[in-house]
Symmetry: D3
């Protein structure tokens, strides 16, 4: 994949793309890729505990979360779109499904990142993963109605969930994000209401960095972990 | 992995490397890699049915199988070494284990290919896979006695077994061998006593080629399937 | 968990809680716990074959099943509520989901028991399990609308299905119900139309009792088997 | 199963039953079974790429696909019914579910064939498999409304998906279709728009035939692979 | 398998074949099969607790266990051979492995029954299963030294372990042993020192009988459960 | 388990018990338990890279590692015994196996901690786990020769490996070690040659602490993760 391409990140809630794929976004931007983040919701009900405790209204919370996510996306260099379908639960409607298909058709991503297909701690995450997997299939079909032509076969990755061992998360790729980690940290710091997670996900990145070093024999400080959904195809071992 | 490196193929029996990894060998040779094949046995007892039916002696069979394997390796462009430890069963001794460690220390492969860790049809194959996995670990240890220094962290792949669905074989990589398939076919044809397998493994390569095309959107005719043992580490999605 | 708490049992059909968790209910009642059983349906279509053969009407069957379940719950010492959403199939509506969330919010259970997430013999059971898992998550969210405050992290267990080996049922806990087995037997005998199951589930309890004895070195006569969904957390090995 | 019985094949799209179960259909017909094929859709959007490229309209494509499927069914000797619910996606409605239950009640199949429960390349296939599994359960329930009586316990098999290793497909049965392969080939050739698949699925059948030979010690040329959902029950090892 | 064949049962300890496969033995004898039981040990150390508590010596225990097993085999109608290699642990030597290969070569079984490949409660059982699987492979090899010719491809089954859910035991076949259960019960009663298991394994057979009824729609009272190692091959669904 | 008991920790190499179970040791000591650590080797070859780089001899390294491990055990309050069987590889001999059985017989642990059964990065770890599982079984057998009587059924746990996602590690228990973490840190600091791991395993403990908090709703700072091998047995949900 020597040519810069397009990276899609589909995030159930507004901040998921930062904690779980912020490094990947910054890294691919630094290599000239276009990156587009799709947030299905703002995480307004399920992932904004502090704002609720502070007495904010639903609309205030959505506005705050939107602003934070936009700021983080800007730091990472990504476009961002909010579907605003509500969360906890995210209900998958035909309109949402079609919306995602049309996005994929219009932007033709080379790689798509999203959640895992199993997560006993979060029902929106696996539902989003299944939605993305199906939207990609529909986008490939010649007969699916759209003004854009069918796509090829973009690779699909799950990013790391909060408790990977309980989600049958298997690591297929450790992505070296050392060179862009400062950007990920900055983006994380946009999430004012979740300050306790800044250090937490810095530690996760360090731990994955150590493992990346052990698996490659290279000096790597920070990494992100990904699971591949489809086989990779290529002309050399990687 | 832009620089040519060294590829190891550890084969329980003399012909396994041809059917299962002949394309990978030829392909990496064509990219300037060094390739070294290690055959633990000649497959003299377990995989030479026709020669036994023809009334050959054990020594004759070993000589024939050696000659065929050497010829195939030459066509593919690989060095080859025979450990000649006997087959059906291959018994893993401390000497064999150490021999493999010293090979890995001396040649420092970047990638190692071998069998799957489960195969209900063949006891030598998973035993070889476990041996290789352990030898790689021992070769990494600073305190393991050797005249060669410890190695880094070469990637380890399982090549495709005969009945993949019964071996829990999951495809992580479809390697495009279209450009070198004629060499693989020539190498297969060195195996005079197993003529029925020439067409069989040509068909397998075609089927994997179709799947490689579907998974990549590229036109690919022939492919080989591989399962990765360790996460890959890198600076981009692949 | 030295203090008595609250136990929830969510049962797809009226009698499931008796066969599968009757011992747990009686045991925890005997330790001072409050127990609340939620039956989504009466099992009127799917698990009342004899009543249909006897020519009863749908309303008669529902009335009979309700009476039996109430009687069994009374013997075991549990409160019981019927959602009466119909069975075969149970269709999960937003109203049912919200009803379950409000129940969990209002009663704040420490432990919730329900079905397994896989069961090829019964579509209502895994659907109920997924509903319960999601309702528990929603009940934790600060932004979920309710007059009751969000809950903590109750443990969730699957009770034993009819054919555990086909449901990927793994036993995490064998609960010693010897001291209350007579109550479970009495409760089972309330199910007049399923007399053939009284002996069957007595045998299951005995078999699990023998296994509990082997796994603990204690003399145990009757037990029930459970699979845990989340890790347990504590200050000692158990 | 010495007496001829009834075989059901539930196919998400019009041609699936040919590629995946055409041999089973012809074989059981040759043994006196009745075979009924249920196509939920024509595969008009998702599996008719060439017809779309040729500029056909949706209605034309449906008509062409219907005609081809009817012709193939006739060659194989099967009845065929089209539910015409649309594809990509197939949306499972209560009406479709009930339609399938009534079919099963009315025809009382001994064996049902359908798709796998997992397929990352196709969302309609696993959805169909779950629908069939549930419809079979509902058809067994005495209280399910129908003019036909409840059924017994027909066996349910998944036929082979396109990329079995990515679908956790485990082979439980290799069905020897050598004696009827010419009919399967003829039926495949009815699919004018998918000529590239004729050779592909001939090769698959040959490969499964070789494996069937290895697993049985019998000379078998062509086979189809199946995964069983429920245990088989019988009076001898098979 | 309409013709009577030969059934092998390989039992790690003297009594395993009775509890776990006694019904299969009697059933196949009643159908004219030859049955041969191979006991690797007498279970003298690991499965004779009561005899040790009674103060018997090792030699006395072996004699008692041998006599019981011979009596049980006679009731079931099977030949029996004891390898007497000692138990807890059974150490797999090249001599034992070869002994098993020669047995398989000499008697050419059509079906082989043995333990599961995983059992956290017993180390001898999985070790025996692996030994049997490898001996079957070696017996197939033309080059393996023997006075008997190579065999074909007998099916291999695991019989049910004591705690199936902890052994990843999946039921592929429920064998109807109703017609011969009295013989199994008589054979169990030969095991004087394990009287507590008579009722236990009668209950297991009843429970499997109920499940066999549910899975087939036939009235079945007693059954045994088996897991298949290789795909079955045949000319009809079963 | 209200009464203090005996905890065994079986460690393949000298320092494993500190990184992986140091908290459990200190915690149970603080509750009055007896703790005994068994180190099969000093990790002299495989886990002493810095000492080899510093030019130490094998004997010097063993002495250093022994001294460090003894000091760490003293801080944690545990007895320690070294089997000194060599590492990389640890070869399991009948003598080692018997030595472990006699230890278990003599000390009668209530709980045993050891490695995981799968670890592609380390061959000594799973080998040790299998050895411990078998030694526990042998220690239960009445006929196993020993001057000590047979044991009951101690629970067996795997502690967390370095790369849990690649070892199929599933978390069954998060042990709250907040109250004793300072002792674990002190013990870690005894390992002079592995200073880079002090911070690493402090971070792991913090991460597991956050997860323990989420899974329990309690404020927990540090935790260790464990996987249970056998079901737990008890009189209440935990």
């Amino acid at each position: 994949m020597s040519q810069p391409g397009t990276l899609f990140v589909v995030s159930a809630h507004a901040a998921d793309f930062v904690w779980r794929a912020g490094g990947a976004i910054a890294l691919h931007r630094s290599q000239g890729w276009k990156v587009r983040v799709l947030c299905l919701s703002f995480g307004e009900r399920g992932e904004s505990a502090r704002l609720w405790k502070d007495g904010k209204s639903l609309e205030e919370i959505k506005a705050i979360r939107r602003a934070e996510a936009e700021q983080a996306a800007a730091i990472l260099g990504a476009d961002i779109r909010f579907f605003d379908v509500g969360d906890y639960p995210i209900d998958v409607t035909p309109e949402l499904r079609d919306g995602l298909v049309q996005e994929i058709r219009a932007h033709r991503p080379d790689v798509i990142l999203t959640h895992t297909f199993l997560d006993p701690y979060n029902a929106d995450h696996p539902r989003t993963a299944e939605l993305v997997r199906e939207a990609r299939i529909l986008a490939q079909a010649h007969g699916y109605p759209s003004e854009h032509p069918p796509i090829g076969a973009p690779q699909l990755y799950s990013f790391e969930p909060h408790q990977p061992e309980q989600c049958q998360f298997r690591i297929d790729l450790l992505l070296d994000i050392t060179s862009v980690f400062d950007k990920k940290r900055q983006a994380m710091e946009c999430m004012q209401a979740q300050e306790h997670l800044w250090a937490y996900y810095t530690d996760v990145a360090k731990r994955r960095g150590v493992q990346a070093g052990r698996n490659s024999g290279q000096p790597i400080v920070y990494a992100e972990a990904y699971q591949r959904v489809f086989p990779s195809v290529g002309g050399a071992f990687v």
